[in-house]
Subunit: 355 residues, 2 copies
Amino acid sequence: MPSIRNIGVQEIARLAHVSIGTVDRALHGRKEISEKTRKRILRIAQERGYRPNLAARALSVGAPLIRIGVCIPREIHYFYDQLRDGFLNEARRFEQLGVEIVYHPIQRLGGGECAGMKELLALKLQVIAICPGDPANLTGLINQAETQNVRVICVASDAPQSARSTVVCVNPEVNGHIAAELMAKFLPSAPQVAIVTGMFATEDHRKKVQAFSEKFQQLAPGGKLVGVVEGHDDEDETFQKVYALLGRNKTIKGLYVSTANCLPVCHAVGARGLHGKVRLITTDLFKEMVPYLEKDTILASIHQRPYVQGQIAVRLAVDHLANGRPIPPSYYLTPHVVLRSNLHLFREIRSDGIL
Amino acid sequence: MPSIRNIGVQEIARLAHVSIGTVDRALHGRKEISEKTRKRILRIAQERGYRPNLAARALSVGAPLIRIGVCIPREIHYFYDQLRDGFLNEARRFEQLGVEIVYHPIQRLGGGECAGMKELLALKLQVIAICPGDPANLTGLINQAETQNVRVICVASDAPQSARSTVVCVNPEVNGHIAAELMAKFLPSAPQVAIVTGMFATEDHRKKVQAFSEKFQQLAPGGKLVGVVEGHDDEDETFQKVYALLGRNKTIKGLYVSTANCLPVCHAVGARGLHGKVRLITTDLFKEMVPYLEKDTILASIHQRPYVQGQIAVRLAVDHLANGRPIPPSYYLTPHVVLRSNLHLFREIRSDGIL
DNA sequence: CTGAAAGCGCTAACAA
DNA sequence: TTGTTAGCGCTTTCAG
């Protein structure tokens, strides 16, 4: 334990026999200072465990010190509105410490994210949070940002090949595994099941499919995965394909819908008169799902907690920039399992704004 | 929108034709000021949407402004250590804004909570967080605290008859309902099940039992609740009683363990050679449960997230005291459903300290 | 009852 | 390259 009470610039200046101006220069790596005095000052600060007083800093500077650019899609609203609110509400808590969100939405996942990123890059922010829709294309810009000492936080989806500081998301493999486990436990033994996904090209979707399929084999001996439907997150296409599948194969007992696009699947089940016969494990949560959860067409939904993802991204940024804590290389959060009996506790379903 | 930029005491003083000293007196309800000038100043502050600059306040005062007393049990460690860490870690984020935790543990739930509360009361804190083990006895002290303008936050358990500002917990009824839903969905139709609880005298335990029993009737037609074991959270007693029950009744397929005391239940199941025959829904999470989750003796556990409860209590306090937001009358959080496939994501199981 | 002024720890502008 | 100083918005003390 270096010292009991916290030391300040004043004290450091005294110990180093320099003025506080010089201490400030040393601490902030400014150039107008000789290398040896900087060393000396830094060593003293280190030894005495100097931690800057953020309140004083914020007060002195006046302008926001930690500016977080947020480049996330607008659509699908029910998901990204929550994500945005997580960012905004959490940042407000640290407003007085100089934390500010620069919200820079794009229309949809992958739609103009490079342009958005470039604009944010020009703003000289400390942190950029982004949902990579097309990681391959974005990687160059992410690396450029990190080179310019801008921390990049991927949210909800990842750009694993890039130099991003961290990612905040639900691991898609975990999603697939949970779905498989629930399916294996909920359905009678040796069931036939199928998957409804968006498109194989999307890494997130592909991983969920694969993880589900592996885990399901393992947990449901005798069970069988009899089809994977690629709905391209299009309502009509999804409905048609699922409707056709259920017509061809009367023995299917379960469907894992690995994207948010579960409504057309519910409709197809209904159109075949299979409510109560074919059960769904879905992804995420929005109001329109409630009736299907209540009548057990949807047995459970795996909720990726976008609001909390936004919150956590802000916290990682603030913890790092304000309190000097390291950013963990990834932050995989536990999804919630939504059931009939806990449904009413989720912010998506509630009218009050409570977390 | 009252004004674009935030106004300060200086500006209010100018507008009211008084000095900033007087503004300060008005804003803080100090006595050395005439009623009419106070009114005038307050009106102006109101009109212009004055919000104090917390950084400046913290800087000026120096000492912690928001002191939160935390009177929670030490045992059972696996639960209350998490709760404590939630308080401590979250408070550290707001340290520079003058938030401080006064940690004042008691040995076990209900063991000396009145004395602990009294000691905290003497410290002139702004907030006291407490786990009521014996609400009837504590209510007087809680009311006294609130009268003295100390906000009382109940955590993990409630004192519903008191004037406490709020409670942060998992609603025991929700716990019971989720357990019932999982039991009904996981087990083959019309199963016989039993409950293992602590003691009926504890409100939390009683409510879980009742909620489970009602919901189970409703969701598992033909199923039957064939016993309720009161284990008094004693390992031997619980083992003996469950062992006896499983001997008497060979048809039991499921057990809902509504307290953290699930290990003796697992042992009893093992001793009867019923692994894989009798399935458990348990409560909370600690390392020793892992093998039973992995071999599916425990199908799922309902995790009350003590760490997050501590976090949220701090946030409610800070949001209220620092940012003037109202405290919601209750904050019921969603428990996590722990399964084999998400097990490794929980802080109780991980070695790194990440949330 | 009210006003004036010092000072919290830090940054930034200017002087040397 | 270094030192000096004003001032961020607020609380607090001391004078009036």
